[in-house]
């Protein structure tokens, strides 16, 4: 494969992994530009970790190519791929000190003592663990251990940094800190990286691009904003962020919802999946004056079925015809929660209505 075939620093072409009759990864195609942080996002079993392990060479691919900087690595063994991998379980060497753990990759590369020590010191400072050099992994907290793992992977200056759910074993507060720290280090070093996660917040907040995977296939690849605002499939819409979903019928671009008629972006005819994000819907008591005089918004009438106060936001469930629509509003000091049983009017911009052709359970289009 030539460099022109591989526009990205990392190019993955038709990458496939089969275990007997089961296809774990099915023809994955994507590029990662130099210095970019790409997330593999998806539920467990979607093939994201298997894909990462194929890139690292820990799992042999059943088909497809992996090309880094124009060089085909598909058949190169792990130890000659020059990739740094950070594991969910940290995977530190328990019998070695922090400094020796970090130095391991440099020793394997036969780098001389003076340079080795300088680079180890630098890497340990990068992850803010100076002073812990002689500690054993067991003496460190989970967050510190993960930072050692990060330093160990970075000190070899790998072509690609691979992160396999690196934050999953950390508590929530530490996770937030590490998220920022990993992103900062990755950007400062300008290193190309892949970040495997099942947590959409990690993918959206840290990464330049997100590859949403499901059932071994790539559902959508794009920047976080695109994924959120313009999901390509109902799966992406429901996996990234929370969303209302119900089935309806479209005719001439108009969708019937209870008594109301709404419009949105998507197929004009036939059965459709209607998806609307709860916080894009405005909820007003039916008695309040109509603000949308021009009728540009989608507006439906309903009755509040449940009100939940969650501090920052109020969650409502509103019965609209047969459907139950979730609404999320920021709490305000000048207006209290709307009580259950109150007739209300829901309105939102037509652009916020995502319409998808309804798909049967077996994955085919409905007639």
């Amino acid at each position: 494969m030539t460099a022109t075939d591989a526009p990205g620093h990392l190019a993955i072409r038709g990458l496939t992994k089969r275990y007997g009759g089961f296809t774990a990864v099915d023809g994955l195609d994507l590029d990662v530009a130099r210095g970019e942080l790409l997330a593999f996002l998806g539920p467990s079993g979607c093939g994201k970790t298997t894909s990462l392990r194929m890139v690292a060479g820990l799992v042999p691919a059943s088909g497809g190519r992996i090309v880094v900087g124009g060089r085909d690595l598909t058949d190169v063994p792990t130890h000659r791929r020059d990739m740094g991998l950070v594991f969910q379980s940290y995977a530190l060497f328990p019998h070695l000190s922090v400094a020796r753990n970090v130095a391991f990759g440099l020793e394997m590369r036969g780098i001389g003592r003076a340079e080795r020590e300088a680079r180890v010191r630098e890497a340990i400072a990068l992850v803010r663990l100076t002073g812990k050099e002689e500690h054993r992994p067991a003496q460190l907290s989970g967050g510190q251990q993960q930072r050692v793992a990060l330093a160990r992977a970075l000190v070899i200056r790998p072509q690609i940094l691979l992160l396999d759910e690196p934050l999953s074993n950390l508590d929530a507060k530490l996770r937030d800190e590490m998220r920022i720290e990993i992103r900062e280090i990755q950007q400062r070093l300008g290193i190309t990286a892949i970040f495997v996660t099942h947590d959409q917040v990690e993918a959206l907040t840290m990464c330049d691009k997100v590859a949403v995977m499901n059932g071994g296939r790539l559902e959508q690849l794009g920047p976080p904003l695109d994924l959120y605002e313009r999901p390509a499939t109902p799966f992406v819409a429901s996996f990234v962020g929370r969303i209302n979903q119900f089935r309806a019928r479209a005719a001439g671009g108009i969708v019937g919802l209870g008594e109301a008629r709404i419009t949105g972006a998507g197929p004009a005819e036939g059965p459709v999946e209607v998806m609307i994000r709860p916080h894009r819907i405005a909820l007003r008591p039916a008695s309040a004056p109509v603000e949308d005089a021009e009728g540009r918004l989608n507006t439906v009438a309903g009755t509040v079925a449940r009100t939940t106060f969650a501090g920052d936001v109020l969650h409502y469930e509103v019965a609209v015809g047969d459907a139950m629509i979730g609404v999320e509003e920021a709490t305000r000091s000048d207006a209290g929660p709307v009580a259950p049983g109150t007739p209300v009017r829901l309105s939102w911009r037509p652009d916020d209505t995502l319409l998808f052709a309804a798909v049967a359970r077996d994955g085919r289009m409905r007639p």
């Binding site: 130890h79 791929r81 990739m83 991998l85 530190l92 060497f93």
Partner: protein, 264 residues
């Protein structure tokens, strides 16, 4: 480790059992200090003459040296053979792994006397009777299952992710083994080595078939000595053996942790 005190009933049950198991062993200690020319209890007088005899009589030292050399060679070979075998069994995850493992541990299930007879029949035409290589081969049959079991357990518990991490950091499979796997299974190796040595050192039944006037092991020599002479020399040698065994077990316990390596 659980530091709870065991209930009184358990102690009351365990103490007689322990006494029952240890009494015959402990009785060798007073006999070994006997001044009598024959085995009797209680001795009519005390002396160190049998310890002197053990260290000055050429026969004891000769067979002791044979047994130690045999134990060391058998231990080294057991580890060299069992470690790659255990690696293959644990890591390759072949479908017929359990069949291979059963095959390799089968010698433990056979009566030693049958095994000894079988080995005698096979070794006789090969000229391996009463030879050092013959004894090594016969002992390996018995020690390999132990070594394989312990090393398989140790390898199954070794951190696979750390090995993968080492590979991504540029370590070839051989270096991964030396730098990551081996340190992780060191307690298992120590336990397997100690057990192999003790099993070989202690082996009587199979060795009986393979030893002769030219070459004998310490336990076989003791067996014949009791038959022929019945003097307290064997008691003195027994006490020395108990001491040696305790030292080995203690060393394993201090370096690797006995309960950690054997009980798993």
């Amino acid at each position: 480790m659980d530091e709870r005190k065991p209930p009184l009933g358990l102690i009351l049950l365990a103490l007689p059992l322990l006494a029952f198991l240890l009494a015959p062993v402990l009785i060798t200690i007073p006999i070994s200090f006997s001044a009598d020319p024959y085995l009797s209890f209680p001795p009519s007088g005390w002396s160190l003459r049998w310890y002197r005899a053990a260290f000055t009589g050429g026969a004891v030292l000769d067979v002791f040296a044979t047994s130690v050399a045999l134990g060391l060679v058998v231990t080294a070979l057991s580890l060299l053979i069992a470690l790659p075998a255990a690696m293959a069994l644990v890591r390759l995850r072949w479908g017929w792994v359990s069949a291979i493992e059963s095959f390799l541990t089968a010698p433990l299930l056979l009566p030693a006397i049958v095994l000894g007879l079988a080995i005698l029949i096979v070794f006789a035409p090969l000229g391996l009777l009463a030879t050092f290589p013959g004894l090594v081969a016969a002992h390996l049959v018995v020690t390999l299952p132990y070594a394989l079991r312990i090393l398989s357990t140790a390898l199954a518990g070794a951190p696979l992710a750390a090995e993968e991490a080492a590979a991504t950091l540029g370590a070839s499979p051989l270096r991964v083994f030396w730098r990551v796997t081996l340190p992780a299974i060191r307690p298992g190796l120590a336990a397997a080595a100690a057990l192999c040595f003790l099993v070989s050192f202690d082996e009587v039944v199979i060795s009986l078939f393979l030893t002769g006037p030219r070459l004998s092991t310490l336990p076989v020599w003791m067996f014949h000595h009791v038959e022929n002479e019945a003097d307290p020399l064997v008691a003195a040698v027994s006490v020395l053996l108990i001491a040696l065994t305790l030292v080995i077990v203690l060393v394993v316990d201090r370096t690797a942790g006995l309960s950690r390596t054997f009980v798993k």
